[in-house]
Amino acid sequence: MNTVAAVEPRHAAGQRIRERIFRGATLAAALLVLTLLGGVAVSLIKGSWPAFAHFKFGFLTREIWNPVTDQYGALAPVYGTLVTSLLAMLLAIPISFGIAIFLTELSPSWLKRPVGVAIELLAAVPSIIFGIWGLFVLSPILQRHVQPWLIEWLGPLPLIGKLFQGPPFGIGVLSASFVLAIMVIPFIAAVMRDVFETIPDVLKESAYGLGATTWEVIWKVVVPHARTGMVGGIMLGLGRALGETMAVTFVIGNAHRISTSLLAPGTTISASIANEFTEAVGDLYTSSLVALGSLLFLITFSVIAAARFMLLRLDRRALSSV
């Protein structure tokens, strides 16, 4: 190859100019990434300004959402976003942990790759598919088989009973949490697996040498060592659940109210925006929806930033899957 030929003097100037252009282009692209995040923040704040100026602090504390009287408050969607995501995490964390353990400590090596790829494929399925599946397959199953059982057995209990009362709607907060859980499982499992794989074999082998069982090695050696990374992975999954749109929009029921019961329909920030944005007439309505978007941005930004911060210490190469 003569493409890297020695630099002759008359070529040198041309080479230097091209070097400057190429370097400049890469730097400009890198800076564009940086400004993009700022641009998103600025445009959202600008778009939501009319709503915040009109409703002041009340936007955050009021449950009302009435396009007819032009009164908007963010409490119901914010509540729905937080409750569905937290419930989803409760369901997803143990299963993700189990999958990560299976993939790193249990699985025979011939099974490792197919199962790992299958779990990663679950992460590649677009969210609208989870939505349509959740609406037509999962919700009817929950309505017929799971929710009546919850109402009968958990409904009469003191304190937590209130969460499981009322008619089994099928669509609602609980169904949305289920779908969200299924969606974030592959993400959390992938991060946990990658974190577990960074633990030196010597540590595990010494514990085995002392006579520990596989579970004791996992619980007393692997988990303490991987704690920060595990929490980072969980937060990453939480960030995903908080901002997830299409899957939730299908199954949440889009009701702007706060119900004690998890079986009742509700709404989330992203579902409200997806459902109402193109139909919103009037500046205040549109601006209120953008203001909801700003709140979502603020919430997810904090969660994801915290997650990335925790994962920062790990080798980036070891986290290629996220």
């Binding site: 493409t3 599946w133 990335r308």
Partner: protein, 287 residues
């Protein structure tokens, strides 16, 4: 005494078996969900698979028709999104891996890029709406493509940087020792060496954006009819699936299922191809 030691040992063994059994069960549950979703898609989607799906436009309720305009719109906007997003992402990834490897600004850019990578796509939709749609005064295919580009970009930044870092330092040094300027080394030595990795990253970016719905809702919107005008609203599979699945009309729901099967198969095939490219590039490598 030895009795209690025996009991403790049995207890430990039992806990071990229980925990490992549960972890196997968790894996089975995860795989079952994938299987259940694919099964539903195939069962409901195959019924509507016919040639007319690819030759006819989206119909009014109750009429027969296909998804041609939606498929066309999805392909056009996905390609445009990649054509805009991937080169920028590749350049930025090149800066992070080569020119600014250790600089402080690179650390900040990496952090910001990781956040963009996980940012909710509906936020990107709102952003593009505020910046482009409001200014243009109407929804358009080009706004949809830009929204998809914003989502594709961080993916290519990340994969490009990772892949360039895999190129052995010795190759770079050899080129530099021949008197080549960095741009020459990068374009003639490093890019070819990392080619399959970079291609993988782009395939994954295509897979990621071709199913995105939320950012298209208020940028490209939808279009019942055939349109090749990039300045006007354009039909696309995800939004058609969204609208048709939630409609009460049987023929629309059937089209939604067929569209869902089509889009999922495309994405899964892209993801699997991408993985094969990686293992061809990196035989015996991790995973």
């Amino acid at each position: 005494m030895s009795g209690s030691a025996h009991r403790r040992r049995a207890m430990r063994k039992f806990t071990n078996a229980l925990a490992l059994g549960l972890s196997g069960l968790a894996t089975a549950i995860g795989l079952a969900f994938l299987g259940a979703i694919l099964w539903t898609l195939v069962k409901n989607g195959l019924a509507g698979m016919s040639l007319s799906l690819f030759t006819e436009m989206t119909p009014p309720p109750g009429d027969s028709g296909g998804l041609l305009n939606a498929i066309y719109g999805s392909v056009v906007m996905t390609l445009m999104g990649i054509l805009i997003g991937a080169p920028i992402g590749m350049l930025a990834g090149t800066y992070l891996a080569e020119y600014g490897r250790t600089s402080r600004i690179s650390a900040v850019i990496r952090f910001v890029n990781d956040i963009l990578l996980s940012a909710p796509s509906i936020i990107v939709g709102l952003f593009v709406y505020e910046v482009f749609v409001v200014r243009m005064g109407h929804f358009s295919a080009i706004a949809g493509a830009i929204a998809l580009a914003v989502i594709a970009m961080p993916v290519t930044v990340r994969t490009t940087e990772d892949m360039l870092n895999l190129v052995p330092q010795g190759m770079k040094d050899a080129s530099t020792a021949m008197g080549a300027y960095p741009w020459r080394t990068i374009t003639n030595i490093i890019y070819p060496a990392a080619r399959s990795g970079i291609v993988t990253g782009m395939l994954l970016a295509v897979a990621r954006i071709s199913g995105e719905t939320a950012p298209l809702l208020f940028t490209a919107l939808n279009n019942q009819f055939w349109s090749t005008n990039l300045g006007a609203p354009m039909a696309n599979l995800p939004v058609v699936i969204f609208q048709y699945a939630l409609s009460p009309y049987k023929n629309w729901q059937q089209l939604a299922w067929s569209g869902a099967l089509l889009i999922t198969l495309t994405i899964l095939i892209l993801s699997i191809i991408a993985r094969f490219v990686v293992s061809a590039l990196n035989p015996g490598g991790k995973r």
